[in-house]
């Protein structure tokens, strides 16, 4: 890898090879209070947005799904009853602390028995090609150093005809809403400091959201990765967007 090559970490430019470690520190720091902060920042709406995403996954019993950047297991817990014992859910995250919190939480909720856990880098997914009917990455792509590599990796691990869902913060479509949202998000580092004792991580969150590609750019990136019929649903006026892409059937 070129040592001089840089990428953004929030508003900062950092060497490419350092970003994963820096993101790792952020999530290691907030892992235990991550769910509580999500409720605070989204005013609880993240739950219904996640459910909406699961609806768009069109999963059915017996399917195999990868919950990429699955963190504290919210999606895995939603996918699990749908795919049932004949299907499987794989919770993957690059951050060990998040996987630990997710695994403990799933066990505390009664462990449905069809969820596997793995620590994995989205850019180089350690699975056989054509393994999953659906791959879902929620609020994770933003933190990946090489997003194109991650999308390419997801493409190769998706079964032909399967789909990939990307839930991510995006660009509000209404300028007034954008201003209101910007003003609101300024409060997140302060809330983060108060709740998790780590305001810097939430400062990174705010910055990384603003640096993330907008809806159309991400859609084009998915098309470039090989996905077809790519489309996106704006959620809450574009504060979040759910992109869907399909791997062409063989």
């Amino acid at each position: 890898m070129n040592k001089n090559k840089t990428t953004h970490f929030g508003y900062r430019e950092v060497p490419v090879e350092d970003k994963a470690g820096l993101v790792g520190q952020v999530f290691h720091s907030v892992a235990r209070k991550y769910d509580m902060m999500n409720d605070v920042m989204s005013l609880g709406t993240h739950r219904i947005i996640k459910r909406f995403t699961v609806e768009l996954s069109a999963l059915r019993p017996g399917m195999d799904v990868l919950d990429l950047a699955g963190g504290t297991g919210d999606f895995s817990l939603l996918f699990s009853p749908i795919v049932g014992r004949k299907g499987s859910v794989t919770l993957a995250d690059i951050n060990e602390s998040m996987v630990r919190v997710g695994r403990d939480r799933i066990i505390d909720k009664g462990n449905p028995g069809n969820i596997a856990y793995t620590i994995a880098n989205a850019e180089k997914l350690p699975f056989e090609d054509n393994s999953f009917d659906c791959i879902c990455i929620a609020y994770g792509l933003r933190n990946v150093t090489d997003k194109d590599a991650a999308l390419a990796s997801m493409f190769s691990k998706t079964k032909p005809g399967g789909r990939v869902l990307v839930l991510e913060f995006s660009k509000p479509v209404n300028p007034l809403l954008e201003k209101a949202y910007d003003a609101y998000s300024v409060l997140w580092p302060k809330a983060g400091q108060l709740i998790t004792g780590d305001g810097d991580s939430y400062q990174y969150l705010v910055e990384s959201i603003r640096m993330h590609p907008d809806q159309e750019t991400l859609k084009q990136m998915m098309i470039n990765a090989g996905f077809e019929n790519c489309q996106y649903h704006n959620v809450m006026g574009g504060i979040c967007a759910i992109h869907i892409g399909y791997k062409p059937a063989a």
Partner: protein, 205 residues
């Protein structure tokens, strides 16, 4: 068909209620397992809503939007669909404004699962408030039901007496019967008379 966050929120609430109800019946898992993986698509015409009901091992998942190859598709107005939900009679659905494509057995099986829920409320309540209050509450409920049924019957009898006997606004059952008999008798006599006249009008050879 447009999918929305609001519909998702509503479906989430309905799904939660239905699954909580299903979870109270210990036979749910055994009844749903054979149907696991099947999809019932409900298309409401007015208002225009598309809901998929995915049968899982011990729960039902509600989701919106198109889904590949549903096993059964039901189309109808909101009123017709609600009627279908509450009635056990699934014959002649076309006349009731319901169109079904695909397997009808999924529909009847699901209807049966929902209609024959056998929930032991006292068992579940006893886990929350304890055995003695549950028994007291159960007895109170049973007595209340008996009282309500008796009061209902008495009220019906009182209204009946008032309308038929005191105010004489409506005929009694025996009066109606007598009137019907008289009408029948009159009809027969008219028929006989008509036959007789007809015979007299026929020229003799």
């Amino acid at each position: 068909m447009a999918v929305s966050l609001l519909h998702s929120a509503i479906l989430s609430a309905i799904q939660g209620m239905v699954n909580n109800l299903l979870a109270l019946d210990s036979r749910t898992s055994a009844r749903l397992s054979p149907l696991s993986g099947k999809v019932l698509q409900i298309h409401c015409l007015t208002p225009d809503i598309l809901v998929n009901l995915i049968v899982c091992e011990n729960s039902l998942q509600f989701c919106q939007g198109d889904i590949d190859n549903p096993d059964t598709i039901i189309t109808g107005t909101a009123t017709a669909l609600v009627n279908l939900l509450v009635t056990r009679d699934t014959s002649n659905l076309k006349h009731k404004g319901i169109e079904i494509r695909g397997s009808t057995s999924l529909l009847t099986s699901l209807q049966e699962v929902l209609m024959s829920l056998n929930i032991d409320w006292e068992y579940h309540l006893s886990k929350l408030v304890g055995d003695i209050p549950t028994q007291a509450l159960g007895e109170l409920l049973e007595n209340s039901q008996e009282y309500a049924a008796r009061a209902g019957r008495n009220l019906q009898q009182d209204i009946d007496d008032y309308l038929h006997e005191e105010r004489q606004l409506l005929p009694t059952a025996s009066q109606v019967k007598s009137f019907e008999d008289s009408v029948d008798n009159l009809r027969l006599r008219v028929d006989r008379l008509r036959a007789r006249v007809s015979r007299l009008e026929t020229p003799t050879t």
